[in-house]
Symmetry: C2
Subunit: 164 residues, 2 copies
Amino acid sequence: MTEPRWLDETQQQAWQGFLVVFARALPEIERTFKANGLLSVHYGILVALADTPDRTLRLSELADTANTSQSRLSHRLRKLVERGDVSIADDPTDGRVKHATLTRRGRRTLDAISPAHADNVRRLLFDQLSPEQTTALADALSTIASGLCDHDRFRTDGMGGLHR
Amino acid sequence: MTEPRWLDETQQQAWQGFLVVFARALPEIERTFKANGLLSVHYGILVALADTPDRTLRLSELADTANTSQSRLSHRLRKLVERGDVSIADDPTDGRVKHATLTRRGRRTLDAISPAHADNVRRLLFDQLSPEQTTALADALSTIASGLCDHDRFRTDGMGGLHR
DNA sequence: CACAACTCGTTGACGCGTCAAGTAGTACGG
DNA sequence: CCGTACTACTTGACGCGTCAACGAGTTGTG
């Protein structure tokens, strides 16, 4: 066993900041979704589909884009399909694969929630920051995020070659 | 209804980064705790107590310091008391109040988990960043965090005058 | 002292996320 | 073709967090 390497003071400060954001901002943000009978997972799914050219993704890609596990996607998709926000279709060439498509109703749901959501995020997180702080934050988080995504593919895929 | 104010591109980038960190790093970090039969909540509770001069906090302060709700604290405390990591004592002057104290065993639990935890956080988040990025990140997150904590007291307390 | 209003902490029901197991479909080696 | 290995997705059990309701203790008012 070698001597453990601790976080330096700056890193501890940053980590503590993450914890506060996760513990205090996210639940507050979640409330907007609950007020519309949904969860942030649902919203993430709708956004992922809306950001796709033909509003359609196969489920495994959808799970990846929405930063969720396949089983969670499966569970939450049930409600979205029941509500008519998303429709599911079998792939014609591969019977295992299914595709999810954002319906017109799903688009409307998204439009109904988005303003309040953006407002929450801005108010809770970004209104406190100067433009320079925001830029630096985006830079650091993007760096971390891309590292995390690469790391993930490394662990789960065997070089899956998914988009990007 | 006025025109909604959206997030600008930088803000969106930062927010997306938060989501990725939240969805990919935290579960990974949680694994270390689960390997020791605990959750991150438990760890946060132990840390909060360890950071206090006499290793003792009344429960409401503990909940606040550990960024958790009172009921969650109550639920998770059960296991920590059973394990003997924390002991609970009634306040002698106010029958409603209880105090939690970190035991010697709790201290040992903390020491056993901390190295692996610090390692995870460093590896997943900070190893990717330059020193300048880390500093900027800590600065931005601290700013947001202090805003969130003030905001919280504003909503729940009636000017509770809790420490700080 | 009585009674209302309040605070501190606990509890239980309920819905969500995880994990491991399961079903169904595909690829491939012989 | 047959069987094995693999992939895509689904399901159910289980433990956690939330929320609302609760019991217990305290404070304030007349």
